[in-house]
Amino acid sequence: MSIAARFQLRYPQFTLDVDLELPGRGVTALFGASGSGKTTLLRCIAGLERAAEGRLRVKGETWQDENTFLPTHRRPLGYVFQEASLFPHLTARGNLEYGRRRAAEPLERARLDHVIELLGIGALLERHPDQLSGGERQRVAIARALALKPRLLLMDEPLAALDLKRKQEILPYLERLHDELDIPVLYVTHSPDEVARLADHLVLLEDGRALASGPLTSMLARLDLPIALGADAGVVLETRVGALEPDWHLMRLDFPGGGLWSREQGLPLGHKARVRILARDVSLATEPPGPSSIQNVLQGQLDALADEEHPATLLARVRVGEALLLARVTKRAASQLALAPGQPVWVQIKSVALLDAS
């Protein structure tokens, strides 16, 4: 854990009170409803908001404590704002250079060129912001933040102001950044889809407080948290392509615990892929199931059961190897099968959603 953030900030209508330890690498999603304090927390970390009581250490450096308050322009961070934030009097290139010229140790030219290529903005550099689409502007803004070679990247709902089509246009770029750049990212969002696709670590915020914080995979498998990532409960698994069956157009996605057959998407062997398995697509059996059209059957151990909102169903958590899966079962089924924690079960998975094919 290399980011330690503690802030107390009181406004007439709102209080932020958090004490967090966050990992120094990967994408940490700050997730919560609007008004939960996500953006305020990010602004505190950036120094744009000055919390009366605040302590912030980033990778061994104190940015704020009782005696210190590093002003924003002296913090080695990059910030991507929610809405258009490009300077209108400068071209896209001028915007990139604005921060780069001022950074003590800017991104090397070759790596900047790589970022420009990664974000697909090479052809846009001589244009002014009003000649760019919303998605293009946001890509330039992301490149502008990366050009500073920040030691911490803060992103405040960078996709929120875009329509669905533009979101789909940018998400693959963000996934590529995630895979290729070694900068810790704090990513504010209220979109379950973005969390599932991008986050490694999840902080759940509600009414200015942090309800929970932990690795995404284990956070999603927690039964005691109301993490409705979308309409349905489900887990996310990090997998690699472990086998291909070209005759059947199938690939096997391996994770520590087993393999999942899925439709091939043109990914090579060994490629990383993140998948999401919804609880409603998982069923349980207490004996090895007979012949079935369901191709993905794994053996595991029932870990826990928890009530759901609807009185008819339960969420069952099953440990498969090192992974945890969630299954939705009716209470009647659980009773008839006499399901109890610790017992071996067979997990049948009807559908696996590939989240990133980058």
Partner: protein, 225 residues
Amino acid sequence: MSAADWQALVTTLQLAAVTTLVLLLLGTPLAWWLARTRSRAAVIIEAVVALPLVLPPTVLGFYMLVALGPHGPIGGTLQAMGLPHLAFTFTGLVVASTLYSLPFMVQPLKDAFAAVGERMLDVASTLRASPLDRFFSLVVPLSRRGFLTALTLTFAHTVGEFGVVLMVGGNIPGETRVLSIAIYDHAEALDYASAHVLAGGLLAASFLLLLTIYMVNRRYRMIHL
């Protein structure tokens, strides 16, 4: 145009140029403060800045004359320090004009600064720009039209002032005799021909100045500003 009229023209341009420069230096920080402050005192300052818009120039001129003269707080202090007082001097005119034209510099700048918006400043600070750097690299270019308007209005307004000049400066050729006073003198002496030359020239020059500014401002808007 007579030699005296040429002299009045030169005095007028000098006065307008110096006043505009002084106001640029004083008005910019004042406008910035007014655009950004949350202080309650700001409304009082704003009202004071706007006073010259509604006050008869003779009122302002009268108080300036008293203040700058040998017995006034400013002129008296200067004299006590062994310096000349400022009534009926060019310097006195500059001081009075600065006050008189203050709103013409401050209002457009304040509006332009306010339009830049908090977000842009936040963005610039996350791009490593210090407060002073933010002002010059971001606020000034984004407020170009505001500066152009403020400078033009201040200059033109100073060229056109009459009451304040008459009260504070009097009518000393080469020192405080400006065009508007010269026109008044010509009209008083029923020398309408000379008055026409100066008045018509001033009218045409003012119109051309404003026309140029508005055209430039429109072009700015078309090139991404």
